[in-house]
Subunit: 333 residues, 2 copies
């Protein structure tokens, strides 16, 4: 409790910060369902009739999730919202508004914050997800927590715990690309011309794929890939009480050619985090109804769900091995 009081009742700092957030982030007026936005003790929100609310929150911390000297501030703003929105995409829900909890040092209150809010505003407009409230304070490092509220049709949310044996497993996009982008960034790459770097800095949550699947009821289970396929697939299987078998040759990965120095593309695809692609299962009956692209995003079949627990990887030579969870875990030493 480091409360400091002064008789010089100068800058109402927290209120000024709040006003800046409000000015920058509430230009987008698409406040579908939002009855009361930023500025009161709480936001008031109401989904359309027949819909229910999906809610998720995500840390985005300096030093853990981004590096102050490497990640451009507008990427920090964009990504903090994109990764929270990705959780809603993974339920087949659509984002509607967000609460921003922001703590930062005074030294970043001018230029850095302006750029952060610009990236956040761009993401907010892109995902049609306006700010509805939040909390601000000061801290030595930048701390961000994003809560996103969205809506999905009643009983149409796609869970991660409902995959069944023999279901076919699919993923969107190319895996391992964001991890490659992180490596490029650490080696000094700038700008966002390289697709991998762009994917790491400005991920695009797969909202259209999630909505497409929710509307048609094809996915028996779904989650987003934030920590890496090997870790997240293990979570989906554990939640569903099943196992799986995926095939090395089916996993969509980056090309090895230009980035050979950055490791085996398959290793990146199996264990690299931050992709924010979707992993979903479909009954064998419906598997043929999944197109190769949805809303411009490629869809790849990677294997199937098995009755026996455990994750198996079929190598290109036909040998089968156990797949261990080696994605990102902040508590692993």
């Amino acid at each position: 409790m480091t409360r400091k009081r002064t008789d010089r009742s100068k800058s109402e700092g927290e209120d000024r910060l709040f006003q800046r957030i409000r000015r920058t982030l509430t230009r987008d007026k698409s406040q579908l369902g939002l009855q009361l936005g930023i500025g009161d003790d709480a936001a008031i929100w109401r989904p359309r009739p027949g819909y229910e609310t999906a809610a998720s929150c995500d840390w985005f911390l300096q030093g853990s999730h981004f590096l102050l000297d490497r990640h451009p501030p507008d990427s920090v703003g964009w990504k903090s919202l994109a990764r929270a929105v990705s959780d809603l995409a993974a339920m087949g829900a659509e984002p509607r508004c967000f609460l921003l909890s922001l703590a930062l040092p005074s030294s970043l209150m001018i230029t850095w914050l302006t750029k952060l809010l610009k990236g956040l505003a761009r993401a907010s407009a892109k995902f049609k997800c306006p700010v509805a409230g939040g909390d601000t304070t000061r801290s030595k490092k930048v701390l961000i927590n994003l809560t996103v509220l969205g809506e999905c049709k009643r009983r149409h949310a796609i869970l991660r715990s409902t995959a069944k044996a023999d279901d076919v497993l699919f993923v969107t996009g190319r895996l391992g690309e964001a991890e490659l982008g992180l490596q490029l960034l650490k080696q000094g790459a700038r700008g966002s011309k390289a697709p991998a770097l762009r994917k790491h800095l400005y991920p695009e949550p797969r909202l259209s794929v999630g909505a497409w699947l929710a509307k048609r009821g094809f996915a028996t289970a779904m989650m987003d890939l934030s920590d890496g396929l090997s870790s997240d697939l293990a979570r989906l299987c554990r939640a569903s009480g099943v196992g799986c078998r995926i095939e090395e040759t089916l996993i969509p990965h980056v090309e090895s050619g230009p980035y050979a120095a950055h490791g085996n593309p398959l290793t990146l695809a199996l264990h690299g985090g931050d992709d924010y692609e979707l992993l979903f299962s479909v009954s064998p009956r419906n598997a043929c109804r999944i197109p190769s692209r949805i809303g411009g995003v490629s869809i790849s079949r990677i294997g199937e769900v098995t009755r026996n627990s455990g994750l198996r990887l079929v190598r290109s030579d036909g040998t089968v091995e156990r797949l261990s969870a080696k994605g990102w875990d902040p508590f692993r030493t």
Copy 2:
């Protein structure tokens, strides 16, 4: 981005932490409206017909909001939820579920975390507000962010921006008590026998008062007192485009006798933070219908809303002075 990967696929640390949170916090089964709780990408929530969702989030950070060596961990757990719930009380809403974002060092993962979760579980049961989801990660200091979802009748939420000139101003409880409790704590007081210490460590959000007022439609505006009366009253007046005049002799404060060394009780009441009492305005016509106690909590008239902006304090000798915002502001130096 400090992602570390290891071939020793040992402790799935984040998943284990998540399991502990789930085990400790989901004993309370009063999950009114919660369709899908902790364990998926997002929680799914639905208020009763005719109600809408109130959502708020709050930081609770080591070093800023609590001291690791002074605040008992179960108080940290209790208070992190209590202060978020207080935001809903201030809208006249009832809490229904919460999302827990928790980051902490590995060294606190055993004993300290167990006690934290115990305090949080106690608050969760008391406020009938079960956990619905969250996010966990590792950090050097303890970082907590709490998002609470609740419900209030459609169009019955009590805003802070709707006070009118001549409205009568009220507060609940005794002000400055939590600030006194903080001072006692810093001086080494332990246990929770002293009411001020108890109020600082285990605040009780004024849910029953908020609900009583929302049901009857008496309050024209309301907010909770988290940063101190002088700062929060300024916010309510600014949001409503009004001013106010409050009377020194009417402000409920702690007795000076036993705690004379801890400063002027009036100063504590005007500027002390963390009380989580409610501040509300009532039209002159309805002011007489506000009882002196609601649900066991004392209610005090402290002054009235004025057309002219600015906060005025009427001293006991009848002189009037300008009241400056000197409550807590993390950005004030």
